[in-house]
């Protein structure tokens, strides 16, 4: 009898809290990263992703099965980071059957397909490879079809917006607790770098940040006011592209690079083990890449004309970091990595590898495997002499 009453009470309590939760959601408004105030959807069981590469962020919230609620997404994840995608697709085979709403560009996004999938909510990025706030017609059609669109951002202002984006996703998907846990950890990890850097009196070393090493034949693609450039700023590096390249990315002239050599060379890696033979100039990093493959690919990449003779390369201050950190909720790990490279003394006790392992263990359904950054081996640095 007592038991039944307790059960009933518990049941009532549960029902009430569910109702209350729903009432709160029904009344709840959320302001997204595009500064649009949107009403939370009554149900968020069917999710449309604006970019496939939002899956790791979604997985932070959907610990058991990230694929369960996704009804549609474009094909950018498997095209741009095949090894990373394979990790999730292996764990959640349903991802392979999720409808693809486009390829890797906003232009290829099919509104008709998206609406036909009947999503409750669509999660888009402020900029990148999916629909953006500028695609007004697309947004108008989606909202006319009763689909709630929220904008998040891991790319435009990665360090300012990651925490907020996770909170918004948490609210929309009713996963506030998971979001809060991640945000707390993320903020703490970022503070480990920013707090120490604040004590620094002198400007950091100058850095040449090479964008997507091996993509084109000519030198020197770089990132300036945006993308990975933001992470470099936060890590206390002086980006040599600043003041020359006005936008987020551009081409620095090789002569500029050679005549004003940077203290440190950092390339971003877009290669995968599959492309290593076909595109030997790409640096190979990411899921499933072993340390030797990574290091060898960096040694190969810095043999290019003009790069090989840089003092930074000769003296072993050449590094490479996984390109997709620029669009990942784990961008804070890249900040730690860069900070340790640029200020080895200051960050002697910082272990980015541990940070990444911890993030994967606590917040990801797939294991951490593979190298996400590498440094030129002293032997390779001598060989290029």
């Amino acid at each position: 009898m007592k038991n039944t009453r307790r059960l009933m009470l518990a049941g009532l309590g549960l029902a009430w809290s569910l109702l209350a939760g729903q009432a709160q959601a029904a009344d709840g408004l959320v302001t997204d990263l595009a500064a649009r105030t949107v009403r939370l959807p009554a149900s968020s069981e069917r999710i449309l992703l604006g970019e496939g590469r939002l899956i790791p962020a979604l997985a932070i919230l959907e610990r058991e099965d990230v694929s369960r609620r996704i009804v549609g997404m474009p094909g950018d994840f498997e095209q741009l980071d095949p090894a990373g995608y394979a990790q999730y697709a292996q764990r959640f085979p349903r991802l392979r059957t999720v409808a693809r709403t486009g390829r890797t560009t906003a232009e290829s996004f099919s509104v008709e397909k998206a609406i036909a999938l009947k999503p409750d909510v669509a999660i888009f990025g402020l900029e990148g490879h999916g629909p953006s706030p500028n695609d007004r017609e697309t947004l108008a059609r989606l909202s006319a079809a009763g689909i709630v669109v929220v904008f998040v951002d891991f790319r435009k202002e990665p360090l300012q917006n990651t925490a907020r984006s996770m909170e918004i996703m948490g609210r929309v998907l009713r996963r506030d607790k998971e979001a809060a846990a991640f945000v707390a950890e993320y903020t703490a990890q970022l503070a480990r770098v920013t707090r120490k850097l604040a004590t620094l009196k002198t400007p950091g070393p100058t850095v040449f940040l090479e964008n997507r090493v091996g993509l084109g034949e000519e030198c020197c693609a770089t990132m300036s006011n945006g993308l990975m450039g933001r992470l470099l700023d936060a890590a206390g590096g002086v980006n040599m592209a600043k003041g020359l390249v006005p936008g987020a990315f551009g081409m620095l002239s090789l002569e500029q690079l050679v005549s004003r050599p940077p203290d440190v060379y950092i390339g971003t890696a877009i290669g995968s083990p599959e492309t290593a033979a076909r595109m030997p100039m790409r640096i190979v990093l990411g899921a499933g890449v072993d340390a030797k493959t990574a290091q060898d690919s960096l040694a190969r990449a810095v043999q290019r004309k003009g790069i090989a003779t840089l003092p930074a390369v000769r003296q072993g201050r050449a590094h490479a970091v996984w390109h997709h950190f620029y669009n990942s909720p784990f961008n804070v790990v890249a900040v730690q990595v860069l900070a340790k490279w640029l200020h080895p003394e200051l960050f002697r006790d910082l272990e980015p590898q541990q940070t990444l392992a911890m993030f994967y263990q606590r917040f990801q359904p797939v294991p951490l495997s593979g190298q996400y950054w590498t440094t030129l081996a002293p032997a390779a640095a001598t060989a290029s002499r």
């Binding site: 390829r103 993509l215 034949e217 002569e255 050679v258 005549s259 003779t309």
Partner: protein, 354 residues
């Protein structure tokens, strides 16, 4: 005054004077090119002194390593490539305008450039590596293939179906639009990495210049220039009308065919190495015609020189406009080429009216 003096001379003397004058103009063009080439070598964000450049050219060992890389791996190949590509496009445009009897003909306007870009984009999108030779060879190869396909299509129409010259030009323009549509389709299908690669490729850049590429292009330009020059008389005859040329014993069909082969060789090789560079092939010949007239013995080398001069100037501009950053040279040639071309057209029109 001059005309009065000339009246006292015999026809042969007057002709000799005219040839001398034209040779002088050619020599002046060459001198201007040399000067601009030197200026191109002396321009760059590192601010190397001219004396250092000169010493470095004579004795590269004496330079410190950074300066040597800048001079021998950056500035010199870029500057030489600018001259060669400009000459190739100028020469190609000059022949095309003559054999197709149309002032609008050029590798750019008749779709050869667009076809080359489609070829290169195909290589980028499919990840074609030319049977293991790597993208550095596969891309130029496919670009060249694209240009040859376009030239063959134009030629098929002109030769097999005996189309009129006007029809050939219209067909070429239609070809350009088709290849551009194909290019957009490829860009749509490409992933964002490949898309970025296509965009950069099609904007044209001297940054891909290497000494082996320069060697290949130099050979092509020299061979084609000598070959074209040997037909200068026939081409001059063609300018005074097809019937007139035929009656003087010129095999017009053969001349047209051979010229189109040369045009595809010249522009295909040039575009394969540096990407799309428009307007040089169109404007270069017009400048040459304005200052030297239609005598192809002078008009052909002058077109090559004018093209080279134009691209060298564009190379300097691309370095000066945004110091430290690479401004794709294709953008500069189009931005500078369009006003120059409009000016030429206006002057030409004005001349006709008067």
């Amino acid at each position: 005054m001059n005309a009065l003096l000339m009246n006292n001379l015999s026809l042969a003397q007057r002709y000799a004077a005219q040839v001398r004058r034209r040779l002088t103009v050619l020599a002046l063009l060459l001198l201007a090119l040399l000067l601009v080439f030197a200026a191109d070598l002396g321009t760059g964000p590192s601010g190397i002194a001219w004396s250092t450049v000169w010493q470095g050219l004579l004795a590269p060992q004496a330079l410190d390593e950074g300066t040597r890389v800048i001079l021998w791996d950056v500035r010199l190949p870029y500057a030489v490539m600018a001259v060669l590509v400009g000459a190739a496009l100028g020469l190609a445009g000059a022949q095309m305008q003559t054999v197709l009897n149309n002032p609008l003909a050029s590798p750019f306007t008749l779709g050869l450039s667009a076809a080359a870009t489609v070829g290169a984009s195909l290589a980028i999108v499919t990840g074609f590596t030319a049977w293991g030779l790597g993208p550095d060879i596969a891309l130029p190869l496919c670009a060249f293939g694209g240009a040859v396909v376009a030239a063959l299509l134009i030629h098929l129409l002109a030769w097999r179906w005996g189309a009129s010259v006007n029809a050939v030009v219209l067909f070429g323009i239609a070809l350009m639009f088709s290849f551009e549509a194909l290019l957009w389709l490829l860009q749509f299908l490409a992933d964002s990495n490949a898309l970025q690669q296509i965009v950069f490729w099609s904007m044209g850049s001297l940054g891909r210049s290497t000494w082996p590429k320069i060697g290949i292009l130099a050979t092509v330009v020299l061979v084609c220039a000598a070959w074209t020059q040997s037909q200068a008389w026939a081409m001059t005859a063609l300018r005074s009308g097809e019937d007139h040329a035929r009656s003087s014993g010129v095999d017009v069909e053969r001349l047209r065919l051979v010229s189109l082969v040369r045009v595809s060789l010249l522009s295909g090789t040039a575009l394969a190495f540096v990407g799309t560079i428009g307007f040089v092939g169109l404007v270069g010949p017009h400048i040459a015609r304005l200052i030297l007239g239609e005598d192809h013995r002078f008009y052909l080398p002058a077109s090559a020189l004018a093209g080279a001069l134009m691209l060298s100037c564009a190379s300097i501009l691309s370095k000066v406009l945004l110091p430290g950053v690479v401004l794709p040279i294709g953008i500069v040639t189009a931005l500078v080429g369009v006003p120059v071309f409009m000016l030429l057209v206006l002057r030409h029109q004005g001349g006709l009216r008067a």
